[in-house]
Amino acid sequence: MAKFTAKPNELSKINLTPRRKEWMDTPVEIREHMYCHPAKIKDLQTVDFSHAREWKPADEDWKLPQNWEQIVLDGMQALLKKYRSFQVFMDICVRCGACADKCHFFIGTGDPKNMPVLRAELLRSVYRGNFTLAGKILKKINGARTLTPEVIKEWWYYFYQCTECRRCSVFCPYGIDQAEITMMGRELTNLLGLQIGWIAGPVAACYMKGNHLGLEPHTITSSVELFVDDIESITGIRVEPTFNRKGAEILFVTPSGDLFANPGTYTAMGYLMLFHELGLDYTWSTYASEGGNFGFFTTNEMAKRLNAKIYAEAKRLGVKWILGGECGHMWRVLHQYMDTWNGPADFLEVPRSPLTGTVFDNAKATRMVHIAEFTADLIRNGKLQLDPGRNDHLKVTFHDSCNTSRGMGMLEEPRYIIRNVCNHFYEMPEDTIREKTFCCGSGTGLNASENMELRMRGGFPRANAVKYVREKYGVNMLANICAIDRATLSASMDYWNPGVQVCGAHELVANALVMKGEKERTQDIRLEPLPGEEETENV
């Protein structure tokens, strides 16, 4: 919210009509509640990021390094040389505007610089002015501009108002990937030490301890023990997960957030119950203890460094293949980058379900399977006994995570699972799901608290579609397959759609899963009474 500055006698004279100005002539206004706090010096130094210093976004002077201009231009040159896509995206946009109104941040904020085309122009204008002949000669006429500290501020402000969700790319006739442009923008600002704390903290923790929360092995195992206790009280069955076990068939890797953040914890309990019921020969790792990769929101090199531990641990433990939990950006990284960064994983086998015999050819390169594919295959082959009636208190809709839907084409598997474990499933309107899904509004490391206002604006288009199915069908549960969604959509629903809760698909599986030897269930995974058991609970 902007600060209240009008004097009483000015209140009646407010001119609401904004002045018409070209975007280049509209200076950036760094507004509180729209940005995340800067990174801590120690976190940047942990991973050798340069120019770590104390600075404040609200200050006039950002204490840029003395040769900041050279750093940025050299950096841009290097990126243009390294990534052909970046060069192409800088050159081919014809500014048709097809992407302009597709961004959740533009729709929610109303800020024209959140139109993807204009956000990209922030970078293109500098590219033209410094790397193209026409731009150098014609300057502003050619859409070029000079690099100034104000431009750097504008980059930082707006590239941290993009969640790299790639919805705009679906509508671009040239297929320009705005996420890659934002990645380049973030790489460049990172060169100047302009990183945010909510990203740099997890990156440093992951680099040192293996996960974003900086959890040490004993903390991980003891928190899983808490799940084991809760599962026993619900089902009467004590599941027995193993950690760092050499010779296991499968290594399981999932986002660490699900070990501690509600409601993701219930999804993690679902994994434990499912694997126990299957008698799966698998192990958790307390070293490769993070599926997510916040390094992906800083630089390509950092993402690669953090990702390396997954294959390294798989090799150390001697597993045959890797199974991954529900997550969004984790899967874009694993699906599209891991093989070329840290592969080939020729020491692993092509994943094959030990229960159904299904060979996951789609994971032939990475040797890592998404748990939604794995579970959908189990259901398809009749390997699970399910009682969807246990989810009858829930009217469920499904939010496609940006990265799993647009990044890896996973559209049907989670729906297939949900339809088999729930009796009441309702889709949101067509233009808001599948490839056209709206972002949660808090991805790419923007899920901090200090920018809650930005998150609520960016989350509005998604929440608006949820509101529709809530009013039409009485939907009260928003399912998804992403840890960040589970963490952030809870706040979004609380603001826009109070009463709608959030869960992972495997929480619903856990509710419906009939386990061999279980006691009669009276509670769901949240320890709340199942439908029909409310009276018993209150006695």
């Binding site: 904004p18 018409r20 109104d101 729709i107 904020t109 109303g110 509600n262 233009d431 809760q501």
Partner: protein, 183 residues
């Protein structure tokens, strides 16, 4: 014809004027999008404004209790409370209806014929604005509450493990439920 009849006859024109005036609080490129894109899911802000303003207008015309207009007010205020506007700008929209009516009915409102009814209507609009401000404050307070609740939710199991949470009768930060659960 009384004032209500006049307002009903000119409803579309008044609503258009009101809507346009509200949209002036957005940049030109944005207001054009909000005005022209009709799909309720592609343009949820424009849709919410259109539907909300119409419902408020109808309610005022029918003379319903202001409290019954809360859902319509909420659908507009909840958006504007997080759009970075100063409170005075975010909450100006009820008052803009006065301008829209006076602008559209300018010839008819000359003289004293409708002055009594107009005073009553403008008082109702003022009451609407005050009620809108209540909702605005609830939204703002909710934003700050969300920040606190989320930090608890994100570290819930760590707090539990450190025995910093205990069983109480109340709301669970993890689920938002009001069952006898953990906090």
């Amino acid at each position: 014809m009384d004032l209500k009849g006049l307002l009903a006859a000119k409803k579309d024109a008044i609503l258009r004027k009101w809507f346009d005036a509200v949209l002036e609080s957005y940049p030109a490129d944005t207001s054009n999008f909000l005005k022209t894109k009709k799909n309720r899911f592609a343009n949820p802000v424009g849709y919410s404004l259109t539907k909300g303003l119409e419902a408020l207008f109808d309610g005022l015309l029918q003379g319903v209790e202001i409290e019954t207009l809360s859902p319509s007010l909420d659908s507009i205020v909840r958006i504007r409370a997080v759009q970075g506007m100063a409170p005075s700008k975010a909450m100006i929209f009820p008052f803009l209806l006065k301008n829209a009516i006076r602008g559209e009915l300018e010839p008819e409102l000359r003289g004293d014929r409708f002055s009594g009814e107009m005073t009553a209507l403008e008082s109702a609009i003022d009451a609407l604005a005050l009620h809108a401000f209540n909702i605005y404050m609830q939204c703002r307070e909710k934003i700050y509450a969300l920040q606190a609740e989320e930090s608890q939710r994100l570290t819930y199991r760590l707090l539990q493990k450190a025995k910093m949470v205990c069983e109480v009768q109340g709301e669970d930060p993890g689920t938002g439920s009001s069952k006898d659960t953990k906090k």
